[in-house]
């Protein structure tokens, strides 16, 4: 039960991060999801990423919609403010929250039902507006909380636990995000922590709309033969295009790969993304090529994972609106309320 606090037992050998926080300080309540749920692995990856990045836990705002995935913000970053909003509407709430205070780090967690069905419109518009946020979709191709209906990311021809074959085309969130102008697009797998943690770190440091589609098998309703979102299926068809190391500011870059197989992308905030290429010629800064490559591999039945696209100099909504550098929620009466003199001028113009 989520209201039961976790025991505050620390292993004596735990090491604090650069801010003096332990990994435990980034944890939340005990998960109420099923044992083996992919979502819990993603929560663990978020905790690890925040810990490794030395993020002040309370400076992260975590928002979600409705569904199994959207419950998870309760299970990580317990000192952060969280907001479990309404179904499919996390993107608009995050947009408003971001407008109110541009200084926090915004992490939106959603599912495939939440973002690809009821919330597809809000997903699209938050991405195209360029809201500075990390948007993680925990994608299991199924409605878990209502027990096993197909979601809009279920592949055509995949089979439900009850044996029903899905006849609708699947929505590819990665393809949409690329088309709509996300400046950081990745796909990963909840079962591949080594790939996922650096991707989340890079996304959290990305000063624009960062989208991670994370395949996250539902052990209860979508982990059987005939499913294209099961642990076995994803492992068999996973084609990673690169491995990522995120190097925060002023830390030496250690590249232990063969020369010529690694490219570095320096983000606007100074963090460096060192990408070890697993696939020849894959250039994650070329959006059009990424879209073509993804289409091609998808047709071949592969699930391409890794950092698929990054724009190192992205813009965001605040930039487009020209808002003040200070959080809007901190502005004073003097800055916001014009006073009687201005009103007198306006009155004079209305006679």
């Amino acid at each position: 039960m989520t209201y039961i606090a976790k025991p505050k037992l620390h292993h004596p050998a735990l090491t604090p991060n650069g801010l003096g926080y332990l990994r435990r300080d980034y944890e939340g309540s005990v998960s109420t999801l099923c044992a083996g749920c992919g979502h819990d692995s993603i929560s663990a990856a978020i905790i690890q990423a925040a810990y490794e990045l030395d993020l002040p836990p309370h400076r992260v705002a975590k928002l979600s919609g409705i569904g199994c995935s959207s419950k998870t913000p309760d299970y990580f970053l317990g000192n952060s403010h969280g907001f479990n909003t309404v179904h499919g509407r996390m993107p608009s709430v995050t947009t408003g929250a971001n407008l109110a205070n541009r200084e926090l780090i915004y992490l939106g967690v959603s599912g495939d039902g939440d973002s690809a069905s009821i919330g597809l419109g809000q997903f699209a518009h938050a991405i195209r507006r360029g809201v500075n946020m990390t948007y993680i979709v925990e994608n299991n191709g199924v409605y878990g909380l209502t027990k096993g209906q197909f979601s809009a990311t279920s592949d055509r021809g995949s089979k439900s636990k009850k044996g029903v074959v899905n006849h609708d085309a699947a929505i590819d969130m990665v393809g949409l995000a690329l088309q709509l102008g996300a400046t950081f697009v990745a796909r990963s797998f909840s079962g591949d922590k080594a790939q996922l943690v650096p991707l989340i770190k890079a996304a959290l440091r990305h000063p624009g709309p960062a989208f991670i589609d994370t395949l996250s098998p539902c052990v209860q309703f979508n982990n059987h033969a005939g499913s294209t979102k099961s642990y076995d299926y994803v492992r068999e068809h996973n084609e990673a295009v690169n491995r990522l190391d995120v190097i925060a500011d002023r830390k030496p870059i250690e590249v232990d790969y063969e020369p010529g197989t690694t490219i570095s992308v320096t983000q606007h905030d100074g963090s460096v993304l060192a990408l070890h290429k697993l696939s020849d010629h894959y250039d994650p800064t070329d959006r059009i090529a990424a879209m073509a490559y993804l289409g091609e591999r998808q047709a071949a039945g592969e699930i391409v994972t890794g950092l698929l696209y990054v724009d190192p100099e992205p813009g965001d909504l605040h930039g487009a609106l020209g808002t003040t550098d200070r959080p809007l929620n901190s502005l004073s009466d003097a800055e916001l309320v014009p006073g009687q003199a201005a009103l007198d001028r306006i009155n004079a113009g209305l006679r």
Binding site: H81, N98, A100, N101, G322, L331, V337, I346
Partner: protein, 615 residues
């Protein structure tokens, strides 16, 4: 033969035009010219949901007595639209005047013999002076203004001054407009005598201003400290968000950095609009959206979240004719119940009910204090009539000593000092808990906001007693709201009476005029103007102290009456609905007629038929 109407500073002129013909600015100039002569006017735009081609009307009530409601009836029709000719002619009061373009002869059957017909060959004058089609169209409007000025005694110099202000710095344009104005004036001078309806310079306007409610509310949001506006275009609310935008650009750009102390997003729909508002409110910014009934319908799920999770939000609902798409360009007060109880489950939301653009300004600003104080959605219920028409109101005022009331927000210092923080804990007995802004303290004050049931410390709980305690606290909070919202305004009859009338919103001016007429007839009615929901104790007192109360509303189902019955135990037998809901603004004539008939069924109706305007 009916004698031609004769009146000074007390008559109604209605312009019938084709949408998109450029008539709006000419008509508005006519109205403003009367104002500048010190004579109050009440104007109403009657327009279709269309950009070009459909009929549109503009009504100007010239009223030295200062009656700012719609009067009903037309004393002079400026019939510029052949499409609506027959009904426009039919609407003129007996003895009234018909002004028309006489270039093309009309058969006698197209006129009435109980009115005075004033034909001015506008097209012929235009064609002689202009060759370009667009010029002919636009200047024709100015020519008829010149002709009308001459017929009605409006000073040409006043109109010239208005033109000079409108086209300041563009001398050629000013001269061209002057020429057109003079063409109309001179033709009338040479061919006709002034009419029985006359405007005479007076001193009845004072320093009042002429402003639309949407504009005033947009400005009020600036003064209320709103920094985030998320909206979706919908008639008749669009101009509110646009006014906020333009006032922000004027008043809220930091002079040093050139950066905006505001953020305005045109969202993809109303659901996203309110989502952004709630996200911003959750994060401590003052945020609002402007919409109309259909938008509120879409927003209801989020409004329930705001109620239950206790997040400040302000919604301006500029009401139009419903239900469904209804009459998008007509006025009603038909969203009251929809807004008061928006969303599933047991929910109630405070509503402010401004009467005119002056209150649109003050209530807009106050709504943000109330939303922060009560941590919930506060509705400001305008309507199309006050929202999209310029009304004459006292100049806007601001108390310089006033500061934003951000409500109960626990600070870093308080958290650091170890003050107990329970997000939904009623520490003061007023039902209002403390909140924290996200990111305030590294280890204290963080909590998980949710639409699910939770305990006072914001932890998930579906336990019955915990749930009941929480929703009972929300009722206590609603009781507290009664003491914070604007109190009703009581106008006592000249003698004690057990009969009363309750009214609200844009019905105000018509009701005030009607009250004067009732007094003249010797009928005594105490009048209570309700300015907010929930209803404060003054409303209970009024209900208790009157045997019969007429509840005057602009909707079919007597929505305010229902709220009075449901929330304050109003006796249905004593609350008599008086309802006007054809989409036109309510008139004093309607109110007097309806109430008079009910008050005294044996008294024969007046000898003069009461005419409602057709549109």
């Amino acid at each position: 033969m009916t004698a031609p109407l004769a009146a000074v500073n007390d008559f109604v002129v209605k312009f019938a035009n084709v949408n998109g013909s450029g008539s709006a600015s000419a008509n508005s100039m006519f109205a403003k010219a009367v104002l500048r002569m010190g004579v109050p006017v009440a104007v109403r735009n009657i327009f279709p949901s269309n950009i070009q081609g459909l009929p549109t009307w503009f009504e100007v009530r010239v009223t030295e007595a200062g009656h700012l409601g719609r009067r009903g009836g037309v004393d002079m029709m400026v019939a510029m639209n052949p499409q609506t000719w027959d009904r426009d002619v039919a609407e003129i009061e007996p003895g009234g005047y018909l002004f028309y373009d006489s270039t093309k002869p009309m058969p006698a059957s197209k006129f009435r013999d109980d009115i005075t017909v004033v034909g001015v060959p506008l097209t012929a004058i235009c064609n002689a002076a202009y060759t370009v089609a667009r010029e002919r169209q636009l200047f024709k409007n100015i020519i008829y203004v010149g002709a009308l000025a001459s017929l009605l005694g409006i000073e040409i110099a006043v109109i010239e001054q208005l033109l000079a202000e409108q086209f300041e710095g563009r001398e050629k344009l000013i001269k061209a407009n002057f020429d057109a104005l003079h063409m109309g004036r001179d033709w009338v001078k040479d061919n006709m005598a002034p009419l029985g309806l006359q405007v005479r310079r007076a001193d009845a306007v004072g320093d009042r201003i002429f402003i639309e409610g949407n504009q005033a509310a947009g400005l009020g949001a600036v003064y209320g400290g709103a920094t985030v506006c998320a909206w979706y275009p919908i008639t008749p609310s669009t101009s509110l968000a646009e006014a906020f935008t333009s006032y922000c650009q004027e008043l809220r750009v930091d002079p040093e950095s050139g950066k905006a102390n505001f953020a305005i997003v045109q969202a993809e729909d109303e659901i996203a609009s309110i989502g952004m508002v709630i996200g911003a409110g959750w994060n401590g910014a003052r945020a609002f959206t402007a919409t109309s009934g259909p938008g509120v319908s879409l927003m209801t799920e989020f409004i329930g979240l705001s109620y239950f999770a206790e997040i400040p939000a302000v919604i301006f609902d500029v009401q139009r004719g419903g239900p469904s798409t209804g009459m998008p360009t007509r006025t009603q007060q038909a969203d009251l119940i929809g807004a008061a109880y928006a969303s599933h489950g047991d929910t109630k939301h405070p509503m402010l009910l401004p009467m005119d653009p002056g209150e649109c300004f003050t209530f807009a600003a106050q709504a943000f204090d109330l939303a922060d104080r009560l941590q919930t959605t506060v509705f400001v219920m305008l309507d199309l009539d006050m929202g999209m028409n310029e009304w004459l109101v006292e100049p806007l005022k601001w108390d310089e000593s006033r500061r934003m009331d951000r409500g109960k927000v626990m600070t870093y210092e308080e958290l650091e000092a170890g003050r107990d923080f329970g997000r939904y804990l009623d520490v003061d007995g007023d039902g209002i808990p403390f909140r924290t802004y996200p990111g305030v303290h590294p280890t204290r004050g963080g909590y998980f906001t949710r639409g699910t049931s939770r305990n006072p410390y914001a932890r998930y709980s579906e336990e019955g007693s915990v749930y009941v305690d929480n929703v009972q606290r929300l009722l206590r909070k609603f009781e507290t709201a009664k003491t914070l919202v604007p109190a009703p305004v009581l106008t006592r009859a000249s003698q004690p009476t057990r009969e009363g009338v309750i009214y609200y919103g844009s019905t105000g001016p018509a009701m005030h005029e009607a009250l004067g007429l009732f007094e003249g007839q010797g009928r005594r009615l105490d009048a209570l103007r309700i300015r907010a929901f929930p209803f404060s104790s003054e409303v209970d007192e009024f209900l208790a102290s009157h045997d019969r109360i007429f509840v005057v509303e602009q909707n079919r189902d007597a929505q305010l009456r229902t709220l009075l019955m449901a929330e304050n135990g109003g006796d249905p037998d004593r609350l008599v609905p008086v309802l006007h809901f054809d989409g036109t603004p309510i008139t004093a004539r309607f109110i007097v007629s309806a109430i008079t008939q009910m008050m005294d069924a044996t008294q024969p109706p007046g000898s003069r038929p009461l005419r409602e305007a057709a549109e």
